[in-house]
Amino acid sequence: MSLPLLDVDNLTIRFGGLVAVNKVCLKIEKGELVGLIGPNGAGKTTCFNMLTGVYEPTEGRICLEGRDINGLEPHDICAKGVSRTFQNIRLFKSMTVLENLLVSLHRERGYTLFESILGLARFGRREREMRTKAMDILKVLGLDHRADYVASSLPYGEQRKVEIARALAATPKLLLLDEPAAGMNPSETAQLAAYIQKIRKDFDITVLLIEHDMSLVMKICERIYVLDYGQLIAQGRPEEIKKDPRVIEAYLGGSVGGTHA
């Protein structure tokens, strides 16, 4: 019996009187591709923010590989192996694509400030190694021809990919994708689906994604959690979720088992 990669128990956060996320439990095994869906305002991004240390949960426990990461600073959680993308793209806009990735590699630079100021050998060697590593990631994602472009000058779809590449450069065990298909058309979304599956295979990581686009989630996720008003209302395989009356009600509203079936 191995430990799950991510074990979230009884996760709750209150903002004043509002319970934004209420007693949510998630268990994600290594290598899984899991979806987290729900209507607007259900608390999905708030969950991500707690998983990455942006918010501290009011109650509950977050364990990564059996170790409690609750209450750690975001940069420490990143070091433990959780990295993410953002719903509204947050690239380092005026830096180049390669530099964006190099920021994620900062933790493993392996040289001191004085070595870099004196230009000692280890600085040069480690910088070359970091660049090679970043370029390798860009190659896998088909972005290597964009390495020297200013991030904000790229088209929207590529900016999304760069954000995923930047998250991968932090060598995560668990990758959190917050609405990767937001603002994409159906054919771009289809490409993205293949893309996410490729990433999971090539980088051997576990993925948890928030998504509104049902076609994407149903197609690629092995398991799905559904949130509504901060509570987990369903979980299971995509085909089970599709039929679940509570999910249909949450998404379409109205009476269960109405005429829409």
Partner: protein
């Protein structure tokens, strides 16, 4: 000739000041306008070191003593940066700006009241260490300071500092310890402002709190805005423009008397039409010199 050498020394000190403020404002995106405070701490600490703590050493070994006292000034200012930075860097934007202005004024008023450094009478009798060689030392210190900052910004540390300016939330999520690197950038900026102050103390041989008013902070800010925020070359060019312009205007009596007006006008023109400063203009005119490409 003496006049020209004096101006060039002032120019060097201003270059260090501008480059150091550029680390804080331009690279890290923290809006600090209390730089005169760090300049003052460095100047008084270095002056106190050479006049009060080690006058014999200064007389026996002027070159070594100069290096020592300038570094003492820089470290004192760096320490001040750390003490101010830890509480103040929780603030952002305008609030940080107000806190740093407050810091600058507190330093000035403290100096007005500390008897050991002359209080409101000023601090006279600082020896011009190394005599005729002093301008050479100024150039050496300026070169080393600019080199240090330049190399730092080309390392991973520099990218971490830049990423905070670009997007603080993303930087944290990518493993950058934002609080540490903000404080670090602040301390580095304060350190070099203090270094410049140590040189200034021995250059002018007399210090008075009125040398370190809020206007000095504004002048340094003007340098990096004119030159282009977030560019070391811009800071250097800005220092040249802001230092030499009043000297050129000095030859015409009317222009000389309205020089602050001219500065204000330059600031307005730059902010309205060329917010990226002279370096931004240069990049716009000669884009192929820049390595980064645009889709």
């Amino acid at each position: 000739m003496t006049y020209v050498i004096q101006i060039l020394q002032l120019l060097c000190m201003n270059m260090i000041l501008a480059a150091s403020l550029n680390v804080i404002n331009g690279y890290c995106g923290l809006f600090s306008i209390g730089h005169a405070g760090f300049f003052a701490v460095g100047a008084y600490a270095a002056a106190a070191a050479s006049k009060l703590w080690m006058p014999e050493f200064a007389a026996a070994q002027p070159a070594l003593a100069l290096i020592a006292v300038v570094l003492i000034g820089a470290c004192a200012a760096g320490l001040a940066g750390l003490l101010v930075g830890i509480p103040c860097l929780r603030l952002t934007g305008d609030y940080l700006a107000i806190a740093t202005v407050g810091f600058g004024e507190i330093i000035r008023i403290l100096l007005l009241n500390i008897e050991a450094v002359g209080a409101s009478r000023g601090f006279p009798g600082i020896v011009l260490l190394t005599g005729a060689w002093f301008p050479i030392w100024v150039v050496v210190f300026t070169g080393l300071s600019l080199f240090f900052i330049h190399r730092m910004m080309r390392s991973s540390t520099g990218r971490a500092i830049l990423s905070i300016r670009e997007d603080e939330i993303a930087a944290r999520a990518m493993g950058i310890n934002v609080r540490f690197y903000k404080t670090f950038a602040f301390v580095v900026g304060a350190f070099f402002a203090g270094l410049s102050g140590g040189l200034f103390a021995h250059f002018s041989q007399f210090l008075h709190p009125s040398n370190f008013t809020f206007m000095i902070s504004v002048m340094v800010l003007l340098m990096i805005v004119v030159g282009g925020m977030g560019s070391q070359m811009g800071a250097v060019i800005g220092a040249v423009v802001v230092t030499l312009l009043p000297e050129i205007l000095r030859f015409n009596e009317t222009l000389s008397s309205i020089r602050m007006l001219i500065f204000g006008l330059i600031m307005i023109v730059v902010v309205l039409w060329q917010p990226q400063g002279l370096m931004g203009l240069y990049r716009k005119l000669i884009p192929e010199r820049s390595k980064a490409r645009r889709a």
